[in-house]
Amino acid sequence: MNTLIRTTARCFRGGAVLFNKPQVDRHLPCASARLLCSADIQKNLAEMVKKDKVVVFIKGTPAQPMCGFSNAVVQILRMHGVDDYASYNVLDDQDIRQGVKTFSNWPTIPQVFFNGEFVGGCDILLQMHQSGDLVDELNKLGIRSALLDAEQESK
C-alpha cells in the first residue's frame, strides 16, 4: 500500500512541477507565449523522465488504470516486482498528454522510460517481457526482477 501511495505521490509531484508555473504563462494568448509554454513542458518532461529509473506515462494510475494497454504496462512491472517507479496520468493533464508524444516522437500512450531513455509502448514492453529482455534491462538499471526469484524458488 505504501508503495502505491508513493507511486501516486510521484504522480502528484510531477503534476506540481507543472502547476507551479505562474498562472500568467497559461493565459497569455499570443503565439510566442504558447510556444514558450510548450518548450517549458518539454523541459519539464526531460526532467521528469530522468528523475526516476523507471517512468511511465499511462491513462489512469497503477492502482486504477483506465486503459487496457496502460494496464498491461502496470501488470508487467508488477510481475517483475518493480513497485518503485514514477507514473504520470496523462488523463489529468492534456499538456503532458500531448507533450510527451512530442517529447518522445511517439504517437500513443502508454510510454515507458528507463533511465531517461524512451523504451517504447505496451507492445514493446510486452515483447521484452516475453523474450526475457526485460529482466536484463531491469538488471542494467540495478533492479532485480522478481521473476528471477520465482525461478530460483521453483528449482
Partner: protein
C-alpha cells in the same frame, strides 16, 4: 485473461494461429482488393504500410469494437507487419517505421495502434498474432477520442 496470460515467464498472450483462428485473423486481411469506401482508415493504413515497408505479410485489424467507441468506428487498430526492412533493427526502430508510415492517421483519426513488427524469419518460426488486452473503458469520456472519431466521420 491478462493476469493468467502474464503469470508464466513466457506468457501465452500470443495466440498461435490454428487453421480456424488463422481464417478468423485472415478474414480481416484483404490483400490487393479495391479500396473499401466503408473502411477508409483501414484502407489507408493498409496502403501506406504496403508502400512504406513492402511487407511479405500484412494484417490490419480494426479493434475499435473492443473499445468504448460507437459501432463502425475506425479508431483502434492492430497491425502485424512482416518485412525484410526490419532486419537488424531493434523493436523501437521497427515500430517507429510503422508509426512514420501512419503519421497522418495517427495524428487525426487513429487513437490506438498495436504493432507487431517481424522479419520474415521471425514470422516463419512463430506465426502468431498477438491479442490486445481488454479495454478498460478509457475512451468513453475521452474528448480526444471523440475528436478523432469525428475526424474519421468527416
Amino acid at each position: 485473461m491478462l493476469s493468467s496470460a502474464l503469470r508464466t515467464a513466457r506468457p501465452l498472450l500470443l495466440r498461435p494461429l490454428t487453421s480456424s483462428s488463422r481464417s478468423l485473423a485472415l478474414s480481416h486481411h484483404r490483400p490487393q482488393m479495391a479500396p473499401d469506401p466503408t473502411r477508409p482508415v483501414e484502407t489507408s493504413i493498409r496502403a501506406k504500410l504496403t508502400e512504406a515497408l513492402q511487407p511479405a505479410h500484412l494484417e490490419v485489424l480494426n479493434e475499435s469494437h473492443m473499445h468504448a467507441v460507437p459501432p463502425g468506428s475506425e479508431s483502434h487498430f492492430r497491425v502485424l507487419v512482416v518485412s525484410e526492412r526490419f532486419e537488424g533493427l531493434p523493436l523501437l526502430q521497427r515500430h517507429r517505421l510503422v508509426n512514420e508510415a501512419l503519421r497522418d492517421e495517427l495524428s487525426s483519426r487513429v487513437h490506438a495502434l498495436a504493432i507487431q513488427a517481424k522479419t520474415p524469419q521471425q514470422w516463419d518460426s512463430n506465426p502468431a498474432l498477438a491479442k490486445s488486452p481488454a479495454c478498460m473503458g478509457g475512451s468513453k469520456h475521452d474528448e480526444t477520442v471523440a475528436d478523432k472519431l469525428k475526424a474519421g466521420r468527416d
